[in-house]
Symmetry: C3
Subunit: 210 residues, 3 copies
Amino acid sequence: MPPAAATLVPAFAPWLDLAGLAVFAASGALAAAKRGQTMVTLAFFALITGVGGGTMRDLLIGAPVFWVHDARAAGVCLTVAVVIWVTPERWWRGEALDWFDAVGLAAYAVYGAAKALRFGVPPLPAFLMGVVTACVGGIIRDVLAGEPSILMRPELYVTAGALASASFVLLVLAGLPVSAAATIGAVAGFALRAAAIHFHLALPAYRQRR
Amino acid sequence: MPPAAATLVPAFAPWLDLAGLAVFAASGALAAAKRGQTMVTLAFFALITGVGGGTMRDLLIGAPVFWVHDARAAGVCLTVAVVIWVTPERWWRGEALDWFDAVGLAAYAVYGAAKALRFGVPPLPAFLMGVVTACVGGIIRDVLAGEPSILMRPELYVTAGALASASFVLLVLAGLPVSAAATIGAVAGFALRAAAIHFHLALPAYRQRR
Amino acid sequence: MPPAAATLVPAFAPWLDLAGLAVFAASGALAAAKRGQTMVTLAFFALITGVGGGTMRDLLIGAPVFWVHDARAAGVCLTVAVVIWVTPERWWRGEALDWFDAVGLAAYAVYGAAKALRFGVPPLPAFLMGVVTACVGGIIRDVLAGEPSILMRPELYVTAGALASASFVLLVLAGLPVSAAATIGAVAGFALRAAAIHFHLALPAYRQRR
């Protein structure tokens, strides 16, 4: 399975990667904008939210940190921050961003797991690398903003990333071609997140667990 | 001393490592459970508290991150989270966990310092790697939960980890066999933490320092 | 440019590095002291604030983490914590520390960018490595202390680090000798931070941006 992953991941990866990066950068910049912050803070939040998950993944699997050796990723994040700064506030209200974020979540979860498999990480940690890639940027954003993090909300967010990553890893283990596994995983994760947004689905909490 | 460490650490290390991992994972899962969180959050807290300190240590000393290349550590953390989820709440009340946590603290402090020495880290930073291994998981858990961290409490917690790590490093430097130094260090750290729990010992604060 | 950086950086780097380290360690220890913490907490805050930014930079660029393989940096931080603990509180009041911190900020921003260039990082991420080196220690200190971080204040702090780092990188790209670029960058960053402290300059916030 790693050889197949190694040959197939590059073909679809740049798109998943870019989708996750731009969307997460936007969610970071908007979090700073909603708190009435400055351009510099918007840029910092865009960068950390955009690249945070992938940075943690690369450090953990021992890969060169993707955005340090290729200036394009940082360029995308800083551009997104400038766009949010110069455009009218009303463009960014409403649910549109939640939906983009759902795409980024599903795409990043699959991409993170695929990259981990390609680096020879065993299936269980590779699945966790998908979750880390998809969720850690948002967690750092929330901690820096002094907010209760996405981790602490019952809403299905981390769970949707976990579903995308787990389906992808299991389907690759089952022998499916990587591109098919990636598509199914990303669609499953997006569908669960979309259902959670639309129907306000939440997981049961500790005291309601029976 | 590094050669002695290199040959002797593997003999006792897996037990120290597993003790620290399971106990810290339980303290993470319980922190999430006490806040009425979901199964996914319990699992995330178990993982991050269990492996957080060792992850930071491995990144700092340039070792491959232990749980990324061996699925068993993540398996232990996730299993602990499931056990906490499915068992009655009253099993986990009271002081029992504090005592297990004291064992984990002492074991992890010694194990972290030993691993750092084995990687050729000089004594002072190796001592600090022991403290990092023992305390960083709990610090991340507290920050994510939005709590004042163990760092900010006067109670002797970080200090007990520091005592375990410092005694171990000094005894190894003094020429003691690594297994003896590890036993003495871990017992000393556990004893101090136990005394702190039992007698409510605390360090003097800045304004009371004379 | 990387060869020039490689030969010239070592000549001025140790001084910039030590200045940043000691000053940031002091600001960390004082943050803990102001909260009436213990000696152990002062030491931990001194260490994490002193080495936090450089640690993040080294992890990101794939360099060995500077203070793990050379005990002197940790020794400086712990010594600073002891000095703050044993000296009278009134020595550390007033604005003096803000001014030292301004020196550390400018020095660390230039040093971080120079080290990144030396490791072959492209200009845009190298500029960001300067900002990370200068600001991440303070951000971690604020998050651990449960304070709104320097990131969230309109005052020109991160911006001054960004100016130092950006001027340095641009001047090196323009062909200036590294030592001249470093001096100009550090002076520019320090001047902006000094003006911000003296005139209470702040960046415009999101809602005032026209």
